[in-house]
Amino acid sequence: MPSAPTKLYADDVSLLVVLLDTNPFFWSTSSLPFSKFLSHVLSFLNSILLLNQINQIVVIATGCNSCDYIYDSSLSTNPGIENGKLPALCSELLKKLEDFVTRDEQLNKQQSQSLPPTTTSSLLSGSLSMALCYIQRVFRSGPLHPHPRILCVQGSSDGPEQYVAIMNSIFSAQRSMVPIDSCYIGSNNSAFLQQASYITGGVYQKPQQLDGLFQYLSTVFATDLHSRTFLQLPKSVGVDFRASCFCHKKTIDMGFICSVCLSIFCKHHKKCSTCGSVFGQAQSDVASASNLKRKTPET
């Protein structure tokens, strides 16, 4: 952080890391066109910078095949409006975003040649991990730093294959006390984002009217962490605590747990694929007769 000590970091200075879902599979089905969506988000990002001149924003694109940083206001040379042209924020961000989307699409083509397209989820685990690394860097920059939070603007459905990675990210965010806010614009609720916001103390919101997205963003997610304590933010409408099974990556609400390593399976297996334990049998040869009596597996 250049010249950080000269800035006055009060408790209402924010570092907002926004994770933007750019998944083409979702945007091709969405009722809100991607361009409209961008104009809502750009206005929101501008308003964050206007709320406090030393607020900082970082934007990470969550693609279908890759993730990348597309904007960092601390690197931007001229964030203000320049003789009537588009603000630097918009032009810079849009250019990077376009590059990213083309690259992501190319990866998609390379993919589909070798493999049939299996999932249409976005790589949320990747962008969350990157955001957390960035935030750690801000923490390292010294005792004075803006208060970080993460906002996921997500539309595509959860990718159950990312379950472990996303949970790891959530726990790491919780340990560093970084709230993860979620604005979910897809059709159903996202169990991952509900859990992320619930565990880290962030806000989960699913806007009813996508036309008013800017209003949702600015009333719910623009407030800094300090001021939040004085507000009545949306209460949780329930949290979906379902897990993904390790065998098929299906989302399940009931399943079997390996008693040795706690792996989750959707049906009964003879052997744990994670730790290799054989179920319903003694672990080693020394198991005594008293143990063998209890061998019958539970249903």
Partner: protein, 423 residues
């Protein structure tokens, strides 16, 4: 890192062998400081504030050594830990617990640290259960049944803190044996006895009871608060537990917390099993429902059993209606990084760095910190062997110690390895 510090460190390792070297003329208390000389590396920043000491490379080297040893361990031993534990804590509340060699009393110190232990225990053993037993007037009482909620145990213990009479090891073991014999066979049966007394007043032959415990594969451990007693030592030896005597309060705290992480490979004590479990959803904050545990109407919170749709207040628990074990899945997920550890990153060799044909990434993939192209310095970047992305040393540590994900591997679809293959 400044050079003075580095030289000193090299010197120190050499001196380790011939104990008293050039620093032999220093007093013992001086020597501990002379090794570090931490004041010499203090630095000020522009505004005159003290800057944290720059021993990053040193710290990073230490960390890499630790990671390497961990990963070599992981490959040699399979991940088998006794993750589901059934533990009874036996608190001795005989007359001896009132002694004041611990301040304010042994009893108060024990209670304080048992509380901390209970919380730590559930944090590290999400599916485990714990129960409390007290010994008073020569009789063992069950304070709480086996359960998964830390609050209820702590409350019960704090409400019953008074002591009198003799202590009886045999009565306590008999009582606990009765309970632990009923737990499912996949669980590890453990007893942790916090023993204040120097004697035991038993109704029969305690050696028989010890054999009985051994047969039921109960691992009994004792932490003494006064002095070593033969019968406690014998009990621990026979059942495979550990025996220790606390010297003071901080030592006691250390000893009791040693029992919080899952005990190492005692896998043969329990049978691997698949347990059927439900992951209930948390209800909306504004919903009203009657819970099946307290039979009261409650607003907000609460969880719904996925099989019978009954409402319960707390997790983990067993559904009162259909008997399904209900847990919160994030609880389980906390231990998953043990199962899928990420590989240590490789240091980028200087030959790669100096080769002008290599177009090296200019910034850390994780945090975007610019990575200097070092001339003579040791490499300040590491690379993930899987995704080949470069990371700064700080991210390296953060990724392996806290995040447990490689941002590079997570950010490219074709690199994402499946969690587990189908059997």
């Amino acid at each position: 890192m400044n050079n003075g510090n580095g030289r000193r460190l090299n010197g120190e390792t050499e001196e380790d062998d011939d104990d008293e070297g050039s620093e032999g003329d220093l007093d013992a208390w001086e020597r501990t400081y002379a090794d570090e000389r931490s004041w010499e590396s203090l630095q000020e920043d522009e505004s005159g504030l003290l800057r944290p000491m720059d021993n990053k490379t040193l710290y990073h080297a230490q960390y890499r050594r630790r990671i390497r040893s961990l990963s070599s361990q992981a490959t040699t031993s399979r991940i088998q830990k006794g993750l589901i534990r059934y533990l009874y804590i036996v608190v001795d509340l005989s007359r001896a617990a009132a002694e004041m060699d611990y301040r304010p009393s042994r009893m108060a110190v024990v209670a304080k640290h048992v509380e901390a232990f209970i919380r730590e225990f559930f944090d590290q053993n999400p599916l485990s259960q714990l129960g409390l037993v007290t010994i008073k007037d020569g009789i063992a009482h069950c304070l709480t049944d086996l359960g998964g909620s830390p609050e209820s145990h702590v409350k019960a213990l704090m409400g019953k803190l008074e002591c009198s009479g003799e202590s009886s090891l045999q009565n306590a073991l008999d009582l606990v044996h009765g309970y632990l014999n009923q737990v499912p066979s996949y669980g590890h049966r453990e007893v942790l006895i916090l023993y204040s007394a120097l004697s035991t007043c038993d109704p029969g032959d305690i050696l028989e009871t010890i054999q009985k415990c051994k047969k039921s594969k109960m691992r009994c451990s004792v932490i003494g608060l006064s002095a070593e007693i033969f019968i406690c030592k014998h009990l621990c030896q026979e059942t495979g537990g550990s025996y220790s005597v606390a010297m003071d309060e901080s030592h006691f705290k250390e000893l009791i917390l040693e029992h919080a992480p899952p005990p190492p490979a005692i896998a043969e004590f329990a049978i691997a099993n698949l347990i059927k479990m439900g992951f209930p959803q948390r209800a909306a904050e504004s919903s009203i429902a009657i819970c099946s545990c307290h039979k009261e109407a409650k607003v907000g919170g609460g969880y719904t059993c996925p099989r019978c749709k009954a409402r319960v207040c707390e997790l983990p628990t067993e559904c009162r209606i259909c008997g399904l074990t209900l847990i919160s899945s994030p609880h389980l997920a906390r231990s998953y990084h043990h199962l899928f550890p990420i590989v240590p990153f490789d240091e980028v060799s200087s030959s790669v760095l100096s080769d002008p044909h290599n177009r090296l990434p200019r910034s850390c993939f994780g945090c975007q910190q610019s990575l200097p192209n070092p001339g003579n310095k040791p490499s300040l970047r590491v690379a993930c062997p899987k995704c080949k992305q470069h990371f700064c040393l700080d991210c390296d540590i953060y990724i392996h110690e806290s995040l447990h994900n490689c941002p590079g591997c997570e950010s490219f679809r074709h690199l994402k390895s499946p969690i587990a293959t189908e059997e």
